[in-house]
Symmetry: C2
Subunit: 155 residues, 2 copies
């Protein structure tokens, strides 16, 4: 975000260069659901074969997914796709998308899926908190400051 | 996310239908930075004029931005664009994008911007927590369950 310096090294923009596209997010959604195989990805996302192939290759190139070979009896060897740590770290992003959609885009009956805490069953919420432990309600309680990589505007 | 039921009412997919595109996220980034005017949006995002115009119109149609007329001395009346509550609720999504990018895409010098708590100055972090107050580390501690709008697979 910009507060009087340049945006050409913006982290949002660079992230979108990798994941800023519907099919890519849907591939990641399925990866988080444990879907690993091309045919299953195709069924679940509805992505055209070539699009899916291109998106998976990109995510592997960028280190968000890794390919692991497998072989079904009587079949040729194929690859399955597994999330790397870098890919898994996109989880908060998927949760943000899902929660906003649940709030504003769900059918009258309610959201299709609820994320719950494995240990106690209570629904998951996403919070902002500062490193000193204060709860932060939203953008009005946040001040953007120049980071160590900030580039000042020349104008 | 999918756990044995259909994905055709997926909240992630529906959200991406509105915001799943690079320029739209960059427009939202600038809106959160307090940028309200077309020319400033254009400068900050680098979006082609027609693209920016289309994205702003879409965000207004979907109720994420609202138009408010203004008039500079000697100029015709124009509209500026302000976040609605619905738009402002996308903030966690922008924070997720930014933090992931800071971690994996930043230059060696570090991230360009740091979000800090207005009151104490400490950097902002995003956390997952369940409604019973337990901290949740990540996807492995989360179980997706059918929500009230879940559609069972017919097959």
């Amino acid at each position: 975000m910009n507060v009087g310096f340049r945006v050409d090294n913006c982290s949002i923009e660079r992230t979108l260069a990798i994941v800023g596209e519907k099919w890519t997010f849907l591939v990641l959604r399925e990866a988080f659901n444990g879907v690993r195989r091309f045919a299953d990805m195709q069924t679940m996302t509805g992505a055209p074969r070539q699009v899916l192939s291109a998106r998976l290759a990109r995510l592997v190139d960028e280190g968000l997914l890794r390919k692991v070979p497998y072989r079904e009896p009587g079949q040729r060897q194929r690859d399955e796709y597994r999330l790397t740590d870098k890919g898994r770290d996109l989880y908060p992003l998927l949760v943000s998308l899902m929660h906003w959609g649940d709030r504003y885009m769900a059918d009258p009956e309610g959201p299709p899926v609820v994320l719950t805490h494995r240990d106690c069953g209570a629904p998951i919420e996403q919070h902002l908190r500062c490193a000193d432990g204060h709860e932060v309600g939203g953008p009005r309680e946040i001040t953007p400051r120049a980071g160590s990589g900030a580039r000042l505007k020349s104008a």
